[in-house]
Amino acid sequence: MKFHRSMVLVSMDADSLRKDAGAVYERFQQELSAFGLNDEIALSQIVEVGRHDILPMVIVYPEACAYGPVSSDDARRIVEEHLYKGRVVEDLLAPVKELSGRIGWLKSRKGAAPMEKRIVTRRAGRIDPENIEEYISEEGYQALAKALGTPAPQVMEELEKSGLQGRGGAGFPTGRKWRFVAGTKSPKKYVVCNADESEPGTFKDRVIIEGDPHSIIEAMAIAGYCVGADEGYIYVRGEYQLAQRRLERAIEQARAFGLLGKNIMDSGFNFNIHVHSGAGAYVCGEETALLESIEGKRGEPRARPPYPTTHGLWGKPTLVNNVETLANVPPIILNGAGWYRTFGTSSSTGTKAYTLLGNINFRGLIEVPMGITLREVIGIYGQGMKGGATFKLAQTGGSSGSIIPASLQDTPMDFESFRKAGVSLGSGALLVCDESTCVVDLAVALMKFFKFESCGKCTPCRVGTERALRILTGISQGKGKQADLDTLIALAAEMEFASNCGLGQTAAVPIRDTLKHFRAEVEAHILLGVCPSGVCEMSAELQTA
């Protein structure tokens, strides 16, 4: 690998590409050779992290100047002024005030954002994801080397000691899951990475894969070694085309480097990975539906038990982990459980990536230690509510997360505290809403989603979501009756009690939470025919009544 005096990173994610980032990149190539700077300056592709307003974005190191949006003509000016003459092109710089998401991270290198700690996203945006050498130069594949030189039980013990819990939403201890699979007796086992990130508003896994695909490959190889699997599948959400391409390229490179395939690092360990594209069904993010989908069947969750750890892909013991969970593995192996436990709380260790969205000033991805509060997230990372509005509620983990009212915004965000408070951390989306949001409207939107995405296998979810949506729509149109609330509560209870999978069990959570925290507001729709937030279109008849 060569060393360069400067480095130019061009954002090449799906959004940037739509805005012609490809042309910008090519222009940089042309201009760099025109100025004879090819040997001095490295040109790389990165993913953008949460800044939709300034794409395509270009970052120049070591100054850490962020330009954006950049046109291909701007590329020439940046090369000539900044790289050739050494003067920052002030008028092309991205507006500094709003540079918080990714640039927040840039600042953090100087110690500006005290509580942020990047583990799973530490490389995303800093290295060229299409170049394995850059990954290797950043501690890449060292964890695999270390793991392959250690007995598998010891590796898993370290993982268990680290306290890592699944980041897909349920928070199951990762080390224990690995041990379950390792403990099964089968000549064939599988490791599956769940990258079907389809919770609305969540895109942490996409950023990790697009920005640092090798970390997943490395983690899966470590997992394969520990549990005794020689084959892995990465099930990528269908819409994540770029992520799929990056993964396929990364797998190809890893294979060429002997980091996948037969006899990896002369250890006698064989491991291969396939990338499998989803086809747009939300329910395929549920691990057993995901396995069905890989097997080429209709994406419907299986009945459990037996669990995938014993009867998974093609009936074989299978380890299914989320992208973010896996991305935590190499740093834990490399730095030890003790190091990992210094982040987060004693019961929920490490960091958590969140995607911030809603009525706040900064929207994008952050990675923060477990246990910081919602108030801190909104105040520091979200840079406060938009227009100084009042915080009303936040919705975690996409649709199957909980609704967190303002009264809970000082609860530490970790698995245990949330469980105690009766809410859930979910998959990592934080939809922050102010007083202009109507809870009935929000519940209708969520239920529409669930009704559309229910697979239809089990009765409570299939009928329940349809029924709940009808009732909620009625309430939002001013046709609600007081008795509807009892029906909704009964429906919610039944769906949670009798549904087959997590989708059905949690689809009712928004109803339950809404009625628990905002019952008065819902009743206003029914009894007074008024939407306190002025969002719902009440029927004229009831408005006059």
Partner: protein, 663 residues
């Protein structure tokens, strides 16, 4: 064995038993809709959920394997409430207004479940949505308004019939049962076996012929056996007021395990042939209705002088669809008393003669169809099983997705081509060279499981390639697949047996031994035979070619069988023809005397299927007044000629060595 506790009751069940089945064994009823004992557990309806100690949420008992020490409750208040709620959801989802439904009042499992939960109404508003009704199928109607999306039909179509026509389109509340890529059922790849109708718990799939003809309480089901072909499927005949209402597969059937094909389930329901209701005698060139006395008298007068005249007397031919009682009587009368030279069956031994001739020397060597359950490769030779013996075809088709491989070699192009991993076309008559060639390749490559000396292997291979017209690499591929299988099965049909070559059968047998299809207890070599009683006819020796050569009279016992054009043509020359049959045909038209007899459902009788099961068909219907039992008619003819015919069929079928174990 594992011990578990259900509702405080200690139960011991074999490992792998589901909690639902364990409960049933202990006499504890757990309501369920999507579960069916012949189908893979699904866990969709959520009616059977139970609470299990140590689990956070209740679990569907149909999919839950019982484990040691498990403590299960099925009747907690929460579960009872949940069951009612789930049922209410199902009732309100689509159109489930019982009074208007054909299965209401006993046949509907949804309604029965509601009664079990003591429901009198459902508290939710109905959905009031309209769903499509597909009435394009000749035998049944799919009314999606009555569907509860349990997927029994979808699973039955794929898992039992191996056809995968039915599936679910869309998802969630929009889910709907479709055929293929949402084409009308009548235009789909449906093979019309009707298994989906048989498993449907509600009135979503209703049989056209039996709809609104009464429910379980009014219909008497009688266990019997199908006589459509030699597979010998067990059936339940549903009869009401001397009318066949419906035919269903018997889930306890040893061969078919509940499956039936189009012919077995629907042919008898759609019978369109004209019934013969009176004995007929030809007078002045016209067939005229006469009394039984006159008809039998005419037959006796004509035949009696011919008794003992072996070659120019009587020739007799009987259908292989007749019960063994009739066939045995037929043989006693014509071969025993008349000493006729030509006494045979309508199949003329085309499917059995060579096989039984080999068994005469070697003893029983054929296996039971059950071997298909464990087979990892099936080789079909000269047999289009999927079309000729459909239920056996289902057993093959449904094993394919589970990994069984299929090799088909047939002189006719296209046989099993869509299904087979390897389908080859050989030249007609080249089967012996083919089998010898396969053996030679296996021996030459050292792949055989048992030692076999073939010094002239190279020549045999060369000869096989030349005679069959199959390139060497294809033959080698077939040989390697066959030799590489752990438990292969070889099925052969009329294409092989019709050659009447004992040498070919022996060669096949040695191939079967070479590749391990036949070893120790396992017998994976089976000939498909022909009609329902092929095997019985062969055991009775009714397997000679039917060649008329100066006989003065022909007696044809047809029963309710179809008459082939070939037979009709050959009997045109018969100087005097007596036909006993149930239906009018080209053959009865040219007969001199026609004796009307009962059909399969109108008389009791035994049938021996292709793998040697002796099964009984019951009399469930009473035929038209003038129609008589086919065995009795033969007995009366004998009586009129003072021939004491002893009719012990059980003794008669034991006079010849069978090619398979009889049971």
């Amino acid at each position: 064995m594992v011990q578990l506790t259900i509702n405080g009751k200690q139960i011991e069940v074999p490992e792998g038993t589901t909690v639902l089945r364990a409960a049933a064994q202990a006499g504890i009823t757990i309501p369920t809709l999507c579960d069916h004992k012949e189908l893979t557990p699904y866990g969709g309806c959520r009616l059977c959920i139970v609470e299990v100690q140590g689990f956070r949420v209740p679990i569907a008992s149909c999919t839950l394997p019982a484990t040691q020490g498990m403590v299960v409750s099925t009747e907690t208040e929460a579960l009872k409430k949940s069951r009612k709620f789930v049922l209410s959801m199902l009732f309100s989802e689509r159109n489930h207004f019982c009074p208007f439904c054909q299965v209401s009042g006993g046949d509907c499992e949804l309604q029965n479940a509601a009664y079990h939960e003591e429901m009198t109404h459902w508290p939710m508003q109905p959905g009031w949505n309209n769903y499509p009704v597909d009435s394009t199928h000749p035998y049944f109607v799919l009314d999606n308004n009555r569907c509860i999306l349990c997927r029994r039909c979808v699973r039955a179509c794929g898992e039992l019939a191996g056809n995968f026509t039915l599936s679910v389109a869309e998802r969630g509340a929009a889910s709907i049962i479709i055929a293929d890529t949402n084409v009308p059922l009548g235009e789909s790849t449906c093979i019309k076996c009707g298994t989906c109708v048989q498993v449907c718990p509600t009135g979503a799939l209703i049989d056209r012929t039996s709809a609104y003809q009464g429910n379980e309480a009014q219909i008497t089901p009688v266990k019997s056996v199908c006589v459509g072909c030699s597979v010998g499927c067990s059936v339940n005949l549903l009869v009401r007021d001397n009318r066949l209402v419906r035919i269903e597969g018997d889930w306890t059937g040893p061969v078919n395990h509940g499956l039936l094909c189009e012919h077995g389930r629907y042919d008898p329901m759609t019978e369109s042939r004209q019934r013969i209701t009176s004995p007929l005698v030809r007078k002045n060139g016209q067939l005229e209705p006469v009394s039984w006395d006159e008809a039998l008298g005419a037959v006796a007068d004509k035949l009696k002088p011919l008794a003992g005249d072996a070659h120019t007397g009587v020739a007799a031919i009987a259908s292989t669809r007749l019960p063994v009682e009739t066939l045995s009587m037929f043989k006693e009368l014509f071969a025993g008393e008349f000493k006729a030279h030509i006494v045979t069956s309508t199949e003329e031994g085309m499917t059995t003669a060579a096989v039984f001739a080999v068994a005469e020397r070697m003893g029983a060597f054929e296996g039971k169809l059950d071997v298909l359950r464990t087979a990892d490769l099936t080789l079909c030779l000269g047999a289009d099983i999927v079309n000729s013996h459909m239920v056996a075809g289902f057993l093959i088709k449904r094993a394919l997705p589970k990994g069984m491989r299929l090799v088909s070699i047939n002189p006719q192009a296209g046989v099993l081509e869509d299904l087979a991993d390897l389908a080859l076309v050989n030249q007609p008559g080249s089967d012996l060279s083919l089998v010898e060639g396969l053996k030679a390749i296996i021996v030459k490559e050292g792949l055989g499981r048992t030692p076999l000396a073939l010094p002239n292997a190279a020549r045999l291979i060369e000869e096989a390639v030349r005679a069959t017209g199959i390139p060497l690499e294809k033959l080698t591929q077939a040989a390697r697949m066959l030799a590489g299988a752990i438990s292969p099965v070889i099925l052969f049909g009329k294409g092989i047996t019709a050659q009447r070559s004992e040498h070919l059968i022996e060669s096949l047998h040695s191939l079967a031994i070479l590749v391990g299809a036949v070893e120790r207890e396992r017998a994976g070599l089976i000939s498909m035979k022909g009609e329902a009683n092929s095997t019985a006819a062969a055991l009775l020796g009714l397997d000679a070619p039917f060649v008329l050569n100066g006989q003065q009279a022909v007696f044809a016992a047809i029963g309710d069988d179809y008459v082939s054009g070939r037979l009709v043509k050959r009997l045109v020359k018969a100087p005097y023809l007596v036909v006993q049959a149930a239906y009018q045909s080209k053959l009865t038209e040219q007969a001199d005397v026609v004796l009307p007899v009962s059909t399969w459902a109108e008389q009791e009788g035994h049938y021996i299927n292709l793998d040697g099961r002796v099964q009984k068909a019951e009399k469930v219907l009473t035929g038209p007044e003038a129609v008589r039992d086919s065995t009795a008619v033969l007995g009366e003819i004998a009586m009129r000629m003072n021939m004491p015919v002893r009719a012990d069929w059980q003794q008669a079928i034991r006079e010849r060595k069978p090619s398979m174990a009889l049971n």
